[in-house]
Symmetry: C2
Subunit: 244 residues, 2 copies
């Protein structure tokens, strides 16, 4: 009973979270993308024994260009999803207007599949088709399986940009500090690994709180993903540096 | 009439495309991501006058690490979306089982909002709540606004990886050819710009065919996005190279 009660509580609590879910999800993936991209440059340069100035130059070039491209990409993809919904909705309005018999038949089929029959089915179809907005709404959800997303394309793009730049800056931080301070930081690559690992763990924890899954599993999953990607980058840098 | 007929045709034709829409959309964004990321390294290195070998080393390190991270990210994000749906569905089943009166009331509210009333409303609620699968289905769509996505997380991840690597390799192609051939290619950066521009245009065209929007606008949009991102990268490389 306690377990079941908690499930029920979770469900109702999550309705609040669902409002923010899309944006926090976008922050999580933007942050992972930013830190992996920048850390790939850092790790590749370390694997190839390239100079710290190369790390800073290409790290920032990548951070800004990719952060910009990702956020515009997120904006465009969310906008085209919205436009696709609106286009289909417009066509359904057209169909309801010009082919009402066919569309009425479709509503009938949808509600017959829900178990309605005979006179009751006819009455249900009458009520649904009495109002065009309601009629189109049924066709969108039941025929096309499309529900209008509440997320704003411009906000999604902004969230991507901020998380990409902020989290993506973390692997570069130590190189910038090293350059600015009078005393040299020893083994900057190790410090960068440490800081980036902490960032991955925080993102993993944030991801689990959005998806309401096990935080431990989510932290390990994100950390391993980042470590594996960075390891690949280091290896490729190391191998190619020996070839070229 | 001709215009309207075309709209109707579009709508029916698009039901076929919708099956592939998610995967082609994923291919488009994976491809943009891959080519922008790699081209950012190329442009940043060109802006900073770095050696071609640095371009190849960091370009590949980034291509492989980021391609891997993006595809795992896409897999995880689609998987958690699916899990979120299943978790909510499970809770709705629990609620229908343990709080049937409350859930019946919710179905009644949903159908009252659709314009049903009196005896007909009661009969509709009877039919909906007579079958638990149907009942939960109504709660998922109408109360939570959630529809189960048909896309497979593992296929989405695979599509991202392939498009990221294939399209992302294009900006590096000329540097690899330059290294492998006995005759030097003059101005490899210019050739890379040309090839990457063609790739952006093809992606823009593909995007418009998925979204059924104006191909010309889509091509220009994608090309400008890529050009602006690459320009930023070149500029950052150039400015930082003068500082460090």
């Amino acid at each position: 009973m306690a377990e079941e009660h908690r499930e029920y509580e979770y469900h109702n609590g999550s309705k609040f979270w669902d409002k923010w879910n899309d944006y926090i999800g976008e922050f999580v993936y933007g942050g992972i993308d930013g830190s992996v991209t920048t850390f790939a440059v850092v790790a590749g340069a370390a694997g190839a024994n390239l100079d710290s100035s190369v790390v800073i130059i290409l790290g920032f070039a990548n951070l800004i260009a990719d952060g910009f491209a990702m956020s515009v990409g997120s904006y465009l993809s969310n906008k085209s999803e919205l436009e696709r919904f609106e286009k289909h909705e417009q066509v359904e309005y057209w169909e309801v207007e010009h082919l009402p018999e066919k569309e009425r038949e479709e509503v009938k089929e949808i509600y017959a599949a829900k178990g309605f029959e005979g006179e009751l089915l006819e009455k249900v179809v009458d009520v649904i088709t009495a109002n065009k907005k309601r009629w189109v709404d049924v066709m969108m959800k039941e025929e096309l399986g499309m529900i209008k997303e509440e997320k704003s394309p411009i906000k999604m793009g902004a969230v991507t940009f901020i998380s990409f730049i902020v989290v993506g800056f973390i692997p570069l931080l130590v190189y910038v500090l090293d350059y600015l301070s009078s005393t040299k930081i020893e083994q900057p690559f190790l410090v960068a690994i440490l800081l980036t690992s902490v960032a991955f763990m925080l993102i993993g924890w944030l991801k689990s709180s959005v998806n309401q899954t096990n935080p431990f599993r989510s932290i390990i999953e994100t950390l391993m993903l980042g470590a594996f990607a960075a390891g690949l980058s280091f290896l490729v840098g190391d191998v190619l540096a020996k070839m070229f």
